[in-house]
Symmetry: D3
Subunit: 248 residues, 6 copies
């Protein structure tokens, strides 16, 4: 059940049986010479819809832009500052918590979001505690990173070994190829690829990762792989969601 294709009365009915909601969150950032700028949002959204279908959960509109400041030296990247993102997440959860939701399951497509999401959740629990919302203390948020699902990770290692890398990976590229076969890109991928550098500011990042990839060879990706990743992630995260909403 997709929130943006529902009416408020359907949401009202939904709340009578569930207080859970899935919020896909991605990023709008460079993904190397052949990866889509929307990769992280596309993956998160596709998997979130799959999980929603599997579990009858309500799925919110995708947060397309996340915390990608270190990618901003590449044109096309858009990023929230962490302090802005904390406020955005606060506003989402405050609105939904006032309406009766209490279990927020963020299906995340971008490693760079994890820290800020965690910080945001801490901020929000304290914020809600100060308001007059009934049951504010029952609000629970969880981040579920599809790319860190054990089944996904295992398959990526099998298919790509060390060529999986850590950004613009063949696994995420494969998933976007499965979702948008019409947008499969050809492009030159140097056999030399930056790897092993820590992440600091945007200029530093581009210097060490000149084409945007981090140790990856996305040329190995295929749409068929993408479907496999999709199926594994949907299965594992569906289970994760059901456990999340069940535990007190």
């Amino acid at each position: 059940m997709l929130l943006h294709l529902s009416t408020w009365q359907e949401v009202e009915s939904y709340l009578q049986t569930s207080q859970g909601i899935i919020i896909p969150i991605g990023s709008t950032e460079q993904h190397g010479p052949t990866g889509l700028i929307g990769t992280d949002a596309i993956c998160a959204e596709a998997i979130a819809k799959g999980v929603g279908a599997e579990t009858q959960a309500l799925v919110a509109p995708t947060i397309n832009v996340g915390m990608a400041l270190h990618h901003t030296a590449f044109p096309g990247t858009i990023s929230l500052r962490p302090s802005t993102m904390i406020l955005v997440i606060r506003d989402y959860i405050t609105c939904l918590a006032k309406a009766g939701f209490s279990k927020f399951y963020f299906i995340n497509g971008h490693g760079g979001n994890i820290a800020t999401l965690k910080a945001a959740f801490s901020e929000i629990y304290a914020y809600l505690d100060d308001l007059q919302i009934p049951h504010a203390n029952q609000v629970q948020c969880q981040t579920a990173n599809w790319f860190m699902c054990s089944s996904v990770y295992k398959l990526a290692k099998e298919l790509y070994g060390e060529h999986e890398g850590s950004h613009a990976t063949p696994s995420e590229v494969a998933l976007t190829q499965y979702v948008y076969p019409e947008a499969i890109k050809q492009g030159f991928l140097s056999p030399e690829v930056g790897k092993g550098h820590r992440i600091y500011g945007a200029a530093d990042f581009r210097q060490h990762y000149p084409d945007g990839r981090m140790g990856s060879n996305p040329a190995l990706a295929t749409p068929e792989h993408g479907q496999q990743f999709y199926d594994l992630a949907v299965k594992e995260l569906s289970q994760g969601y059901l456990e999340f909403i069940t535990v007190a």
Copy 2:
């Protein structure tokens, strides 16, 4: 050209011939008993893609959640606070302006966003003036409200007269029916509908507009109407965009 389906190198090429970008912005808010919660985002996104195709412009991912605080007494509504939204818009434009964009054309699907967008633009011009971005003083932002296109307005009056109303209107519902025919809703629409009250806080809004509509009869909407609105809006806003990027 859709930003999320592009690579950063394609964006780099694009910037050599254009510094314009279209940013669709909608809202996630109740639209009466039969309107989709995503109506404003759906309309903005569809039209923005159409304008992008018509004008070769780059189209950013849709800002799905806008300023809809007055609708938050209806479940399913998600809103940013104006102060948050100003920061979000600031972050978007700062990233893109540093990359070289200077003409920001917001195709907007929600009346409630207009004031905050305008405030955000003022804030941003001053903010950019303080930074070390070259050509910061050339940044220009414009809001283009599809529902206020003269051709759209004229057709809505012809088709629906006073039943167009001002929220959950048949014209916007028609457009979503055209985009998502699989999500056309049936639902009871009382012949009595709130109208003429000013908008204050969320509780006050729901009291005066108990089913969420503002003077509208969305039962008049058809997908065919939706296509007409779509065509008119794309045509008028394509012209608007081209003028915007041309004028110094």
Copy 3:
């Protein structure tokens, strides 16, 4: 009844019969070669006092500085950022709402304030909803722009036609001449005047409107006109205020 000339005990008495208050808001910004920098504040304050006298309403001290960032390339202009102005309005209303006021009528002298005021009101309704103030949900704010009164607009058209323009207008200059006849300025007004350009940042504004006027010829203003505008605005806004405080 002027707040700054009252005692707190007089305010306490006032609150027993009315919860309405008038807050004049202007701007401190260039008004062309012959217009006063305080024009918008002077007009708003004069009319607010007139309305207060007519309706027995309490009138707060004038907010002299508003949102005029686009005028800041002209010396003497002072502007709040929109995000600051939202906090200022929040602080005003929070104090007054805690004391028992619930109807806030902003008599506004500056077009550039309108969007930020609207954004501020939305922010404030949500903010108050989170506090422990009794009757927070009854707080209502309204902006009343004296220069958009239909009677004022009609007279301006009659007297000045297209020479009214949209900034440093003869109508507002006339009103300041009526209030401060000792400060009528003589100055060179080029027959060529900028007009028709959209408003972006401060440097861009000054480039297109080099002497600060927007399509206006303030040389047509007279103190007698000013009195006419004053009388019309006071009459129309007095009625507006009384309606505002009457409707639930």
Copy 4:
């Protein structure tokens, strides 16, 4: 020279010979049963105009509302939060510093503003250092409290002894009587008056100072005293201003 009664071209001329500006700042807060809510703003404004006339200095519009949170349990009081006031002062000074002003002389009518003004100045020096304003490092701000002028203090002691108290004092009430003789209030003043309690929150303040006075007997005030205070303050602060703008 009053900023609000000047044109931007007059300000431009002024800046060729002086970079100093006087900013009156008061408060909108209860001043006991017979003191005006606008007392602090009235006094600051009147004296600032006097100093401006004496020294040819430009005088900005009065900041009517300051930091008076501890008075907010009395109706009619309006206060900025310190964090808001810091932003307001920052916005004022940023605008004026960009235009070329560098010496900001705040003539202050309210003890409660002093700490926040001082904090604001520190914040602003650091803020300006980060911007691209020429000569940002030459910006200097000073608070001049009229009621702490040695000549004023001495006269108050002579006239009222311990009945001067520290809030709603006869000296400030006298000054408002001189400025607004038509607004001299009669009211019951209990011979018992709160005194000697430290200032904490608003509820605590009202409990210890039930009628708003702090150890004062404003019944001793006369308009003639007011004129004496006015003359002394204008003289002393004129000298203070001239020294301020002279020293590097």
Copy 5:
């Protein structure tokens, strides 16, 4: 009783008999050629521990970094902005007030903190008033500056006369010598020392006070003097604390 060396159960017990807590606050800033950068924190912490021992009060960890922006042109200085410091103090007090503390006694080692602390307290009383904390209105904060104790001031005048100065004073240097005899510094102290200039921004400060001292001769300090200052301050502030927690 030191908070950082206690368990939460010991704090729980403490709260049954006292709601007071001592919070030492210093600064990390240059103190001239021979003064320690930690001088203000060292003094505040040592005295706070002494007062805690004398009065059985709980002593929180020292806030090492305060408001020292005007010293930031000297390397090694770290400062919070006033707006940040207000939030820090707010967070401390909110946590502790929710746990049951209501009397906050800040033993302060730095004059530059005084204004921001005062502003913070005002902000916090209003903030707490908006939350759902029981007894929020009983929260009281007080700043106790050890260097302004009358006994300390008297001794400093006796020992050093005008050589006490106002920053990097022999009295504070002496106290650090008493606490850290192993860190007594030798260094060249020019007989010429800046004095009498007002404090503005960091660059301006360093220009007028080139070695960081303000009119002081810290070469006069001895550890024995330090012990005397310590004893006087502990005695006077112990009395101050006991009075503070006793008065309603």
Copy 6:
């Protein structure tokens, strides 16, 4: 070399050979019935001093209070909100970066700080990029968690196995016993201990972890163990620091 025991001239000299600085950061939070509230700050500070001595690095004063909102249902806990902590870290780094430091090594004693520190670093890189600080793009921040050193982790597993738990662990308690043998606490430790629950808000945390421990048995700690942990951590982090400042 400890910053608080240095003079600004010593820091000036230091900067000629190194731009690195160590900043210890801990927390002030409950650590079960026998753990000290200052545990995380004590451990971070002790190890940071050891690393500083080993590597000749400058060590800043300890940030005693971190992000511990989930512990705030236990009295004595003090926490910054993540948004506040981001500002605090921003202020520290801005001051130090302006002075010439570029390598910031945070030795961290608290798992709850990790996410917010990471978010803060991202925020700061972008912030510095906007300022006029030379070499802003060379600023690099790193978090080094002593408890996650592989040598420490290995020893903890050897000594305590699963009784190490994840909060109020015997390893960190041991380290505080080594540093403060005079503050070793005796207290009842129930054999039943909460474990395996995710962390949400403060009330939820206390419900699942009623005495504050998370799966640990701190009764196993000894001061001798503490010394072993200390030695291992200092060795491993000294190496980490030297690598950090060496790599470009």
